[in-house]
């Protein structure tokens, strides 16, 4: 019989700030963190809005112990977000105590953090390239080879390796168990949490820091998302907070959020022994790959068959059926082609009940946090279960066959919540969370 796995700490990082409290408050009140981009002048882009974390809401130097403060200089934004999330999750789980006597042995603490394609900070790189500019305005590689490249700091490459999220977190918190970095776009967080579950169940760890983080709020990533056709244009006369409309027939694309975060995934026996508070049980996790009919990497099978497969498999593992599920947290990105596949999958799985099972949407509030999106979804789902509360839904109008329309928050009996995430590229992950007292 495999070990029961629980969530004991939540450390989401979103446009609302670090930690569960600001996120949950905004989810219940129905607020959005999406605004005009302040970090750079976004006027060259069709989409000029995002859910940024403001400097006053997060400073990585303040969340790392003093002896690691120097390391923050070699952290890119994505890494800083993961580091912030890890500190918040450990504190929430009551695991931020005396480092000399850790509640969980370092070798039994794993770490699985999803990451995206991290882009080099453009001003830093371009300042170096500029020194090798030739008379025609191109970069002269011969100059670059012997002189120009020395303008880059020696650790430049290490800043942008996707595994640096997990590496900095494992170093700061002395996690010496299995550590991995999953890079499957929006499915990354869910797959990472699923891997933590597997690792604990094969007895290679007792607990894991798990999740994902990403910030695509930079010119290179904004450009890539634009040409991938994923971002919503922002007409001047529209309130930025109303642009993301998951599953709405009038949806025009997604909006980037930065964040994600870390959760503590733990063996139930260990959590019980140390008297940890439990948000929810992870009762099943399953992954599948969608069929991409034409352009590999962007298109998804519109029938959503493989997304539905993941949901079915996760429910089977949890020993429940569609009739038991009290709410569903889809990616709900507001990208029409992805929404279409997800909606089809929900209808396929829930049949005539699809219009009754409430959806919980997060992207209208936090933006699409990409590799971190699933962590936000799981954090919201876990706290919804703990507080027996459905958060508010924003923006979406009436959708045939789905309970997706905007509505205020309300109390609800939530025993089983299904989380489903689909990444650009077609990887899917579904997870069933269970209220801890449900047998």
């Amino acid at each position: 019989m495999s070990r029961r796995i629980v969530i004991t700490g939540l450390g989401p990082v979103t446009g609302f700030g670090v930690g569960l409290a600001p996120l949950w408050e905004a989810m219940v009140e129905g607020r959005s963190a999406i605004r005009r981009i302040e970090r750079f002048d976004p006027d060259g882009f069709e989409c000029r809005i995002a859910a940024e974390i403001r400097p006053e809401d997060f400073d990585v130097r303040k969340v790392v112990p003093k002896k690691h403060r120097k390391a923050t200089k070699v952290m890119c934004r994505d890494t800083a977000l993961a580091v912030g999330g890890a500190a918040a999750a450990l504190a929430d789980a009551g695991l931020d105590g005396d480092a000399a006597e850790p509640a969980i042995e370092p070798g039994r603490m794993g770490c699985h953090i999803g990451a995206g394609l991290i882009t080099a900070e453009a001003n830093e790189l371009c300042a170096a390239l500029w020194t090798s500019r030739d008379d025609d305005g191109n970069v002269d590689l011969q100059h670059w080879g012997h002189t120009g490249m020395t303008n880059l700091t020696p650790l430049w490459l290490l800043k942008y390796l996707p595994n640096m999220l997990a590496c900095h977190v494992t170093i700061i918190h002395d996690c010496r168990g299995p550590s991995n970095t999953i890079t499957c776009c929006e499915a990354s967080s869910g797959l990472s949490i699923g891997e933590s579950v597997r690792v604990i169940q094969r007895d290679a760890a007792d607990a894991c820091l798990s999740g994902g983080a990403e910030s695509k709020i930079n010119i290179m990533s904004m450009h890539r998302q634009t040409i991938a056709g994923r971002l919503a244009p922002t007409p001047a006369d529209r309130d930025p907070a109303t642009i993301v409309r998951p599953f709405d027939p009038d949806a025009t694309g997604t909006v980037i959020g930065e964040g994600g975060g870390i959760i503590v995934v733990e063996a139930a026996d260990v959590a019980e022994r140390r008297g940890a508070e439990v948000y929810a049980v992870i009762a099943g996790v399953a992954a599948t790959q969608s069929f991409c009919p034409d352009t590999v990497g962007l298109e998804l099978d519109p029938a959503g068959a493989e997304i539905a497969d993941a949901m079915d498999l996760a429910m089977t593992q949890a020993g429940v059926g569609p009739d038991d599920i009290d709410a569903v947290v889809p990616l709900g990105s507001s990208i029409p082609s992805v929404d279409r596949a997800e909606a089809a999958a929900i209808k396929r799985v829930f049949g005539s009940r699809s219009a009754e099972v409430p959806l919980i949407t997060t992207v209208p509030n936090t933006g699409n946090c990409n590799a971190g999106a699933g962590t936000v979804a799981v954090a919201v789902a876990a706290n919804a279960i703990k507080t027996q509360t459905l958060p508010a839904r924003l923006n979406t109008g009436a959708v045939e066959g789905l309970a997706a329309a905007a509505c205020p928050s309300r109390p609800a009996e939530l025993k089983w919540v299904l989380v489903s995430q689909t990444g650009q590229g077609g990887q899917n992950v579904a997870m069933v969370l269970q209220r801890k007292d449900v047998a």
């Binding site: 590689l141 020395t150 996690c175």
Partner: protein, 437 residues
Amino acid sequence: MMRRVVVTGMGWITPLGHDLDTVWTKLINGESGVKPIDRFDASTFPTPYAAQVRDYDYRQYVRDPAIHRHAAMNTQFALGAARQAWDQSCLGSFDGLDLRRVGIYIGAGEGVLDFDAYAKVAMKSWDPVKAELDAPEWARQAAVTMSRWGEIGQEPNMPMSHIAREFGIRGPAYNCLTACAASTQAIGEAVDILRRGDADVMISGGTHTMIHVLGVTGFIRLTALSRQGGDCTKASRPFDRGRGGFVMGEGAGMIVLETLEHAERRGATPLAEISGYGSSADAFRITDMHPQGLGPAAAIIDALKQAGLDPHALGADGRPLVHYISAHGTGTKENDAVETLAIKQVFGDNAPKIPISSIKSMMGHLIAAAGAVELIACVQAIRHGTLPPTVNLDVPDPELDLDYIPNKARHAEIEVCLSDSFGFGGQNDALVVQRLV
């Protein structure tokens, strides 16, 4: 009873060639794939050489090249290697194959940044007075200069998405990217997924190229690359006293993994069994390995434990139970010393009796793909009874006193191999692969 997992197909696209036999013969002959870089002008770079994949056309390996027309170079390598593995496994002719029970777990690196386009856009939008980019101008330049698929194709999950599309895979699908440990970790986790019963078949392995302007620049700035002048085929010298860094390679290694039960049911020929996997984190520094090699040792110990092998025992033939170690063996001062310490720590008195080699001495460091090609080399060693050498090991380092198979391949009956990979940042992985008995 834990499900057993076997390898039923293998394929690689490497700097030494594009098929199993050619590359293996060259490895046994001690040939080097290192040459001057000709993909861009690296003539003034402190390290102007690398082991490139040459004369490779992925189109012969796919059913409909049009579907893969946007494939980036790492994806092209992955498709060729995966096709070879798939064909060797004969899964294509198995009517009972349930593609929802076929998964994929690979360690692919990011695609190649389109440096020319990037530089062009940057130079046109740099404001030298403010010393920063003019963001709106950058966006306008990017829109007309950067190619759509050149950008989208850089996502690290693109190789897996293409492989899934080529073979119709619908099962559990993951890409991991733990730097130089990625494909070893991918294979280990794929094995775990099969053992759990979440799939019957997994395609696993890795693919990567960092032989591009900023990739080479990044490693040079880290002082990780060999800067040895003269004959560049001598530059990759793992375990040699004069080693001074690694030489970059590129390519892909892919394997088909299957539960033994599934392989037997369809009458497939298992090539080897993966019997152990261990994974750990150093939790030490992002730049340096733990000086005592605690993390690597922990991963090796876990892999041996899972395989039920006592590192201190001797077999009936008087040999240690592990017959060959495919080392991470990058050729940096630090790695080879720490790896040697870790092996000694784990195997104690048995350590000097186990032959060890690094094929990075010949094909360079394939980064995310390194572990996969090294695992394939282990399976070949088991099948052929030959161990590939560590070439350029001319002057032994007095502190590195194990048997690194210097310069000449060796014949030996090989039943059990260990393959190690350690990533920048401290993620460590080890696999045990053995003849199926």
